[in-house]
């Protein structure tokens, strides 16, 4: 429950005693929380006042009647102050003199964050635009341009053309999308719908059930299915692909068995399997006379740091772990970057000056689970927080933690702990009354755009020829373009591929080749480009024209051989890296500047297989990283000019055989670099020349 919900439930009289205590803790802890309280309370009291004064009358007239003068409700007190009552009536009458002349269309939805209303009416999105709207009934719709929609009510919209992803929560069943060729009615589910300007339509259900009415026919689709409607007829198929549609943001509350209501001792040792608590000596206990559970009748008590207590085994905290298997969560969250938040309440007995005061809350994301849990390999990201508890056993203190986890993550590990921060007593009781309760976990992922993969057909041809791509469609701006096969894809005109990514040679042992010819230009956006992807793949990219990118460009990921040759111009406002990951030594990631120019924000050669050759032309960099901590990357200059503002030197080698090397650093900072080479200070720059 968010703070806003918590406050509202209080004002509605829906909270039970311990929840009221929780709210007290939150309000006493922060003035921000108190400001939130007043925001919620103000709307609540205004609504109560506005409707209460309609006493006896039809409340529905509240917003329609502007003539009647209403008198407040059964107010015994003002009878005894009759004189003043007249003033009151006059005052209240003033309310009704106000008239809203701008009678606009009803509000049916809000923006994703609820900060703006959306009235019934039309919405138009251009190419590349996307947004999420939330209907008042709770349905979330992600829209992707180009699209034209009309919001009809809080449970109905029209899609004239464009692409939407819809998430209908429980209770909002019946959400309807009207399209030029029919109607889609939802029965509580997630689905995607795309309508072409030509009237062709495709509906895909990812979860739950929808009904698609086309003329007199009704198609029921359940589970994972897709339906194509075109002039050629209607085709129903098994399977669906959520990544082809924009996906609305989603929030999921996930049970982690965090109420600790059933009295029991937790098993000792770190857990080996998901969905059970295990760790140092801890148990679920019932409320005691001095400490009442924060929720339900039980709470978790930390007993000691280890069992039995001894010098050798003693640790500094009593910890309890739980492995959370995200198998189901990741499907629901749609495999996208997700924010996990964890909240818990902590409390302890008053104790004495030697009572420990700190509690711990930890969260780690795992590719796989090892015995060491959050300290072991397999940890992708982790975070931990320490909460200082007060000495008042009546109040519970709240602890919050959040972690951004990668898409498709399999495991999370939750750690709860009480820290021996005051005195490490070796003999029981180490913790004389330390508790955690009401642990909650929430996942939240933002809206994401659709990604369609377009595959190059393999024989030589021109990028802009739709027949050369899967489904006879050239990659749209937002697609992932995958080029592999024996034939080179050529670019002879200006191509803008601004929101999608580009991969050459994706599959194992595949080949992929792209040639930006002299008159061709390829503009890439902020997403990444990878020249050579899977192990064994070979990829070549030749630039005789122009390639611009605002995203990272990896010449090789961990594949066999990647080669980029530049005779035209390569302009990057981001990173160019030769080999994204370290790979076996028999692989190569090569960049050759054979003329023309290269401009990049940063250029990184980190591994043995990262090799660059500058034969002629110019290279302008903000920063150059040559070599990592282990690999021996090589940059060979046999001509041309290389200028860089910064140089970070690892275990790499610079071979300056011919040409000029300019570095915007004073000669004194470059004394260990290229020993024996003549160097000349030129303003802020140092010019380094080949050995005579």
């Amino acid at each position: 429950m968010t703070l806003v919900d918590h406050i509202q439930s209080y004002l509605d009289g829906d909270l039970v005693a311990h929840e009221v205590r929780e709210l007290e803790s939150a309000l006493s802890a922060s003035s921000e929380a108190r400001r939130t309280y007043w925001k919620v309370a103000q709307t609540h009291s205004l609504l109560s006042l506005a409707y209460a004064e309609q006493d006896g009358a039809d409340w529905a007239s509240l917003t329609t009647s502007t003539q009647d003068i209403s008198v407040p409700g059964p107010s015994r007190w003002w009878v005894s102050a009759a004189a003043a009552a007249a003033a009151l009536i006059a005052l209240l009458a003033g309310w009704w003199h106000f008239q809203d002349t701008a009678a606009s269309a009803p509000i049916v939805a809000t923006t994703q964050d609820g900060s703006e209303f959306l009235n019934a009416g039309n919405l138009h999105l251009d190419l590349g635009e996307s947004r999420e709207i939330v209907f008042l009934k709770g349905t979330r719709v992600a829209l992707e341009g180009p699209a034209e929609v009309e919001l009809l009510s809080d449970e109905k919209m029209r899609l004239n053309f464009g692409k939407i992803g819809v998430d209908v929560p429980d209770g909002a069943e019946g959400f309807t999308v009207i399209t030029p060729s029919g109607e889609v009615i939802d029965y509580g589910t997630r689905f995607g719908l795309s309508v072409e300007k030509s009237g062709e339509m495709r509906a895909e259900v990812f979860e739950g059930r929808i009904e698609v009415s086309l003329g007199k026919k009704i198609h029921r689709m359940e589970g994972q299915a897709s339906l194509d409607f075109s002039a050629a007829g209607t085709e129903l198929q098994q399977g669906s692909n959520p990544s082809g549609y924009p996906m609305p943001s989603s929030t999921l509350h996930w049970s982690v068995d965090g109420n600790f209501n059933t009295p029991k001792k937790h098993p000792s040792g770190r857990p080996h399997s998901p969905n059970q608590w295990s760790g140092d000596p801890t148990e679920n206990t019932l409320s005691t006379p001095s400490i009442k559970a924060a929720s339900g009748k039980g709470m978790l008590q930390f007993l000691s740091t280890n069992d039995p207590p001894s010098e050798e085994l003693d640790t500094v905290a009593s910890q309890l772990w739980r492995i959370v298997d995200l198998h189901e969560v990741r499907e629901k969250m749609g495999r996208r970057p997700t924010n996990v938040t964890l909240s818990a309440w902590v409390n302890r007995i008053n104790g004495s000056s030697t009572s420990d005061t700190i509690f711990l809350l930890g969260l780690s994301a795992h590719q796989f689970i090892t015995d060491e849990l959050e300290d072991g390999p397999g940890v992708l990201v982790k975070t931990q927080t320490a909460i200082e508890s007060d000495s008042d056993p009546i109040t519970w203190e709240r602890a919050d933690l959040s972690l951004q986890v990668p898409p498709g993550l399999r495991y999370l590990v939750v750690m709860l702990g009480a820290n021996e921060n005051v005195r490490n007593d070796l003999h029981a009781p180490e913790f004389d009354g330390h508790f955690i309760d009401n642990l909650k976990m929430t996942f939240h992922a933002g809206m994401r755009s659709s990604a369609i993969t377009r595959h190059w057909r393999g024989s030589p041809g021109n990028w802009s020829n739709p027949k050369k791509w899967s489904e006879n469609t050239a990659p749209a701006s937002t697609s992932i373009a995958v080029i592999q096969g024996a034939g080179t894809a050529s670019i002879t005109e200006e191509i803008r591929h601004l929101s999608g990514s580009l991969v050459l040679g994706r599959d194992d042992a595949s080949q992929g080749s792209l040639h930006v010819k002299e008159k061709g230009t390829l503009h890439l956006g902020e997403t990444e480009t990878i020249i050579g992807f899977n192990p064994g793949a070979s990829a070549t990219c030749q630039i005789d024209g122009t390639l611009t990118t605002d995203g990272p460009l990896y010449i090789g990921r961990n594949n066999a051989h990647s080669l980029m040759q530049v005779r035209g111009s390569l302009i990057s406002t981001n990173l160019i890296q030769l080999s994204q990951y370290d790979s076996p030594t028999d692989t190569r990631s090569e960049l050759e500047i054979l003329g023309g120019s290269l401009h990049a924000d940063s250029l990184r050669l980190l591994y043995d297989q990262s090799q660059m050759l500058l034969l002629s032309g110019t290279v302008h960099l903000k920063s150059l990283t040559l070599g990592g901590t282990t690999g021996n990357a090589t940059l060979t200059q046999r001509g041309g000019t290389l200028r860089t503002e910064q140089l970070t030197l690892g275990k790499g080698t610079y071979l300056l055989e011919s040409g000029q090397l300019w570095i915007k650093m004073p000669p004194s900072e470059l004394s260990n670099f290229l020993p024996g080479h003549p160097r000349h200070p030129k303003g802020d720059w140092t010019l380094i020349l080949p050995r005579p």
């Binding site: 108190r34 609504l47 409340w59 003033a87 309310w95």
Partner: protein, 178 residues
């Protein structure tokens, strides 16, 4: 025996007039402090009686609403203690903290006018639900049954409507419609 002097009577009348003038503010304040609003009238009545009884303590020219709010806070506490529901009420210290932070325009005319303007912008269905909730005092479950919605959807719709109203009121009042 009538011991009140003419001056005292005048003071009482003035304080009562002030109370009536700020009645909606005080009522809003009471609603803002306690769980459920069904007993607001009783508490307002009791507050009025105490304000009347203590009228001579009020210094004309000082902040009447702040003074009346302190009295209202005690009346709310008293009311909940009598009903033995005090565990459902926020603790006295918290209420005191909240009173310190209370907005001075909690439920003034401008706010109420803005609310009414903003209500008109909601869909009729949502307006109906707000009416059922606030005029009839129905719980979301009952509203849901009536509307044929899920209870959760009603919660969501009410919550969104309130958020929308909150934002709208801020804009209206800032926009100089007050």
């Amino acid at each position: 025996m009538d011991g009140e002097s003419a001056a005292e009577k005048k003071q009482v009348a003035r304080v009562q007039a002030l109370f009536v003038k700020h009645a909606s503010q005080i009522r809003g304040f009471i609603i803002s402090m306690m769980p459920g609003a069904s007993e607001t009238d009783d508490i307002l009545q009791e507050t009025f009686l105490t304000v009347t009884a203590k009228a001579k303590n009020f210094e004309l020219g000082t902040n009447f609403v702040a003074w009346a709010m302190t009295i209202a806070r005690f009346k709310v506490l008293e009311h909940f203690r009598q009903g033995k529901k005090s565990e459902l009420l926020l603790g006295d210290e918290i209420l005191e903290l909240l009173v310190e932070d209370a907005p001075n325009n909690l439920a003034d005319d401008a706010q109420i006018r803005a609310l009414k303007a903003c209500l008109q912008r909601l869909s009729p269905q949502v307006q109906t639900m707000l009416g059922q909730r606030y005029a009839e005092g129905w719980k979301p479950e009952r509203i849901a049954t009536e509307a044929g919605w899920g209870a959760n959807s009603v919660y969501v719709a009410l919550s969104r409507a309130r958020t929308a109203l909150r934002e709208c009121i801020v804009k209206q009042v800032k926009g100089g419609l007050a």
